[in-house]
């Protein structure tokens, strides 16, 4: 029957001849996830250490990796305490950007007139360097965690709106007709078609939002704050404690990466079809 024929066509084409064992082993090792970037990182750190001792660079300019490591270990309580502040601000900024950005994108799709009125403004608002707006927030709400979280939100919000809008617009006319042919109204189209179809784009936006939220939180702490990794950077700069600056940057980078991949991981769970 044609069922078995069609089912058979799903099977991959016949296997190729196996490559030679040594080449195969090298290829397998190289294919280990994260191995190549990790090796590159080790090489860079080694080159850094070699360059610093070879050219006798002053510690307050570029500390050797060993000093940075020592700073990380000795100051870990300080870094963690300030890291927690930055983490809270980042997560608030991110959550707000999703909570405001996604409904706004949906609203602009539901009321196209509002969308046409708002969207160009939203896009042009991106030309304004948001770092430059930060002092305004300080004037309005003062310094502290709230300000940093709000700046994180302002930075993270735009990619959520734009990408969710893109996703909602990615549905073709025929699919909408299909829903209508089933007697479906606009709410059915949203529930069964537009919202699920926009999820992959939405997650692209959320990943970007997480990366931007970290930047926003740091900017907020630069402008006015008494805690957080951004504040600690300013303090370390004042003390010419370059090793602490580097340690701070390491914590920021690792934390930012973890947050980004957390969003990515959840996205892969939600969007299993693409």
């Amino acid at each position: 029957m044609n069922l078995t024929q069609s089912a058979g066509s799903l099977a991959p084409p016949g296997g190729r001849a196996a490559p030679r064992p040594r080449a195969a082993l090298a290829a397998r090792v190289a294919a280990l996830p994260g191995l190549l970037p990790a090796l590159t990182l080790v090489l860079v750190v080694a080159a850094w250490q070699a360059a610093v001792s070879l050219f006798d660079v002053a510690d307050y300019l570029v500390p050797p990796p060993a000093d940075v490591w020592r700073s990380l270990v000795d100051q870990h309580a300080l870094l963690l305490e300030h890291g927690r502040t930055t983490l809270v601000e980042t997560l608030w900024g991110f959550a707000l950007s999703a909570a405001v950005g996604i409904p706004l994108a949906v609203a602009m799709k539901v009321w196209p007139l509002a969308g046409r009125a708002l969207y160009p403004l939203l896009v042009s608002s991106q030309i304004v360097p948001k770092v430059a707006v930060a002092p305004l927030f300080v004037v309005w709400i003062g310094t502290g965690t709230t300000t940093s979280a709000l700046i994180a939100f302002v930075m993270a919000f735009f990619p959520v709106v734009v990408n969710t809008s893109l996703g909602l617009d990615s549905v073709d006319r025929e699919s909408l007709m299909l829903i209508r042919s089933m007697g479906g109204r606009r709410r059915h189209a949203f529930r069964y078609l537009l919202l699920p179809a926009s999820l992959p784009h939405m997650w692209t936006g959320l990943k970007l939002a997480m990366a931007f939220a970290v930047v926003g939180a740091i900017v907020g702490e630069f402008v006015g704050s008494q805690s957080g990794l951004g504040y600690l950077l300013i303090v370390a700069q004042g003390n010419l404690d370059t090793a602490l600056i580097f340690a701070d940057l390491v914590v920021l980078t690792v934390g930012g990466l973890l947050l980004y991949y957390a969003v990515d991981l959840i996205g892969r769970r939600v969007v299993r079809w693409s």
């Binding site: 044609n2 069609s6 025929e174 007697g183 699920p196």
Partner: protein, 272 residues
């Protein structure tokens, strides 16, 4: 409402229907009737407005002029008894095959439990048993289109509008689909309008073939296929079958849609 309780098949009346998009006229003054339970094919060259006409009957677009009625009621929105099949399968990639078929129930607010067994039976009928939990991305084009047909048929529609649903399929799958469709519509409880540009397919499936001209489309011939339904594939060697195919081919030749260097086939003496 009342329609659901009346068992009689739904007739379609199309009266002087025109459709233009801006200055582009797609349909001009199209008039025809489809009796309840009849299977009618709209046959014409690509881009002649067949799909537009089908969407107008489906209530998915509004005509620029003229009127369409289904079961005596003017069309204002998609008929509650409508089942529509599109050129593309339009399966949702995030739903598995069974859920895609059940989309028809979800959107119509019918309890899934009531139609799950029917969905499985329909899938089995088109050779997709065992594929219920696969995602559309894992299926071949022919399998996807068959799943889409199951979705169209799930709620036992009494009005079937099909827009070249088999256009993308290979010849053998196409034959199988035609046989399946012939079996499904054999009871004549369902009125079918089927858009195609394959002459043998139209003749094989239909009670009547309406031949359309190029844009702006008009109906240029109304050919009755005097063969009992449902038919098997061997009917294609029946003299009545070949006569119909020849006659329609002749119409297209006279329209200039088909051009042949040899003299025109002489069987087309009963043209309207």
């Amino acid at each position: 409402m009342t329609v659901a309780t009346v068992p009689a098949a739904l007739p379609i009346e199309v009266r002087g229907v025109s459709k233009s998009y801006g200055s582009l006229a797609a349909l001009s003054e199209v008039t025809f009737d489809v009796a309840g339970g009849e299977f009618v094919s709209l046959l014409g060259p690509s881009g002649c407005g067949k799909s537009t006409l089908l969407r107008l009957i489906g209530g998915l677009e509004e005509p620029s002029g003229g009127a369409i009625a289904i079961g005596g009621e003017p069309v204002a929105e998609p008929h509650p008894q409508l089942g529509m099949a599109f050129q593309k399968d339009l399966l949702l990639p995030w739903r598995d095959v069974l859920s895609n078929v059940l989309l028809q129930a979800d959107v119509r607010g019918i309890d899934r439990a009531r139609l799950r067994e029917r969905a499985r039976a329909l899938l089995a009928q088109v050779g997709l048993d065992g594929f219920e939990r696969r995602r559309p991305g894992e299926l071949s084009g022919g399998m996807r289109q068959r799943a889409a047909i199951c979705r169209t048929l799930l709620h036992e529609p009494r009005l079937l509008l099909m827009d070249e649903p088999y256009a993308a399929l290979d010849a053998m799958t196409r034959d199988q689909m035609a046989l399946d469709l012939a079996a499904v519509t054999a009871t004549r409880a369902t009125t079918v309008v089927f858009v195609t540009h394959s002459i043998p397919e139209a003749v094989f499936l239909s009670d009547r073939v309406l031949v359309m001209s190029a844009r702006p489309a008009e109906i240029v011939a109304d050919v009755a296929v005097e063969l009992p339904r449902p038919r098997d594939l061997h009917v294609r060697r029946d003299p009545a079958f070949t006569a119909c195919v020849e006659r329609i081919t002749g119409v297209f030749e006279r329209l200039g849609v088909l051009r042949d260097r040899r003299p025109t086939v002489p069987t087309a003496q009963e043209e309207r």
